[in-house]
Symmetry: C2
Subunit: 347 residues, 2 copies
């Protein structure tokens, strides 16, 4: 049975050295493959490593290295499919460059967030990737800002969002382009009464979207109706209640831009419950292009961010900065429209 306690100490290079009749330095040289070791000794050492399944203690190694080759990834909740997609892409990119990643989910608790930043510092991560930019917890808690400021003075923070008052490298989705794609897609389909559902205007990216939405409507000579903007959270319920409110109006929207796929699912649900057909009566589109888009009925038209590229850009920035390379402090990811079944020409 799997060993159920930590009784026997782990093998060390000293043990290997003694049994092989060489010095620890020589064992280390075999491990790091740094300089020549006489073949016969090398073989003896390798045989012992194999025999005992020896693996060098990462703490000891980390102590003598100046570099940790570890990145920290901080996010609200890995259960969110957007976050998990970015995370996996980040991890892949980091691994490809010889870095490990430590993940931390804060579940929106500021205390935990602060604590985790400290832990990452103790782990001597080379940089911290913050995914989400405090989108989920809109309240910019001052104790968090203080900690983030402190940390950012000592190691680079790369974020997909923005942290108030904290200077960091930003790899950001081009929100203007995203909303432009959606709005023009809908306008192209003949829609004019286009509603925005979910998201809060005090969150930067959401506000940017709103502004661009207004600009584009104006460009097309479509009047802006503030009542077509339903603020709310970033979830299913926001979509559901958004429809409830919007469709109580006389001039009902013919198209809805939901703030993400969850929200869109709520939107569609409520529409169907109320007897509307999607997309025949109402078109619904959203952001994120998570796998949810393919699960629901009808399949969702959504904005894709190319997670592989996005995650890679985050990880590469983190690693480049840690290696002292000069890196732009602001980079954008260009979104792409994926048309599926939920949007169609206006009747």
């Amino acid at each position: 049975m799997a060993k159920n306690s930590d009784n026997e100490k782990a093998i060390t290079i000293y043990d290997i050295a003694k049994e092989a009749g060489v010095s620890p330095s020589t064992v280390s040289r075999v491990l790091t493959n740094s300089v020549n070791v006489r073949p016969e000794k090398r073989e003896r050492i390798e045989a012992l490593i194999e025999k005992y399944n020896f693996r060098p203690n990462a703490m000891a190694k980390g102590l003598s290295d100046t570099r940790s080759r570890v990145l920290g990834v901080l996010m609200a909740d890995i259960r969110n499919p957007f976050y998990s997609a970015v995370y996996v892409a980040c991890e892949n990119a980091a691994l490809a460059r010889g870095y490990r990643v430590i993940l931390s989910c804060t579940l929106g608790e500021t205390e935990r967030e602060i604590e985790q930043l400290d832990i990452m510092k103790q782990q001597r991560v080379e940089s911290i990737i913050q995914i989400g930019g405090r989108v989920d917890a809109v309240i910019t808690d001052s104790s968090y800002i203080k900690k983030a400021k402190e940390i950012s003075a000592q190691l680079p923070i790369i974020t997909s969002g923005k942290i108030d008052e904290v200077s960091c490298y930003r790899v950001v989705i081009d929100a203007n382009e995203a909303i432009r794609l959606l709005t023009e897609h809908l306008i192209g389909l003949g829609h004019e009464r286009i509603a925005l559902v979910g998201g809060r205007l005090d969150v930067i990216s959401t506000y940017e979207k709103y502004m661009t939405y207004c600009r584009i409507l104006k460009e097309h000579g479509i009047p802006i109706n503030k009542r077509y903007v339903y603020e709310g959270r970033y979830d299913y319920d926001a979509g559901y209640s958004g429809v409830q409110e919007l469709f109580a109006m006389k001039e009902k929207p013919t198209a809805i831009i939901a703030i993400n796929d969850f929200c869109a699912a709520g939107v569609i649900r409520k529409l169907i419950e109320d007897g509307y057909r999607v997309p025949e009566d109402v078109s619904v589109v959203s952001y994120d292009n998570t796998y949810i888009t393919n699960l629901i009925f009808p399949k969702l038209t959504s904005i894709d961010y190319d997670y592989e590229t996005f995650g890679k850009m985050l990880a590469d920035t983190a690693i480049d900065v840690a290696n002292g390379m000069s890196v732009p402090t602001f980079r954008t990811v260009t979104p792409r429209l994926v048309i599926r079944e939920s949007s169609a020409a206006r009747k």
Copy 2:
């Protein structure tokens, strides 16, 4: 701007000690709060810690501690909502007991899996939690088995599945109970032509479900029709093509048990495309009770595992075993039926 290179060395207890005019030991005593330190010195030291935002190097700490207080969690893919739910629950439970967690996704690549096991060993994790039991990669790769065997000889492995030939602690969902709940639920609704869609019978838990399904049908005097069992993967497509095949038959099923929520989404999609109504014409139920159940239309009846409890059981087992406590090598989690809209009485 965030420091863009690792030029200045980090502060150490020696720096603090020198500036405070005490020995490093005293600084360490303040950090660990182990013994008394004269209040005036303690204050001076604490002030310096604050001043420099000093955080002790985790490597150095880890080197002198015999215990790492770290668990490793290995899984196929964190993007799977089932896995991410279990992961978060695990992490919460571990954190509550003062343990950190390192996550590793193998994305089904055996090579990566083996590599990550080694990394965890190097990190001196106290035990390894394997979520998924190689369900996703049915092929039990011999090189993986070999590595897992080697590892399990040195540190405890806790799994939610099963690893061939490798002895480990198992915390397993009671598959028999799960299928019993679903089958009896459907029979209670008057269904007799109940199909199984998705999953492969060479995966233990799937096979167990099949066997119990047969037993229960027999108990109720319902004839077993092997053609109602559609083997496939654990995804949307399996559900989709399952319906395609099953509904080409003359005696069409009136109820479907999908192997998980993804699969159920595919099932429902194809049913609707083909003009069936759910649940009026066909009832659909599944396992896992992920948030997908609430996103799709109709909302899915599914089997819940109480992720908090499940994750906690995994983490607690891992920690208890690491602490030499005697722990049962087999524990089960009792599933619970959550009835939603997708199942109804047979017409």
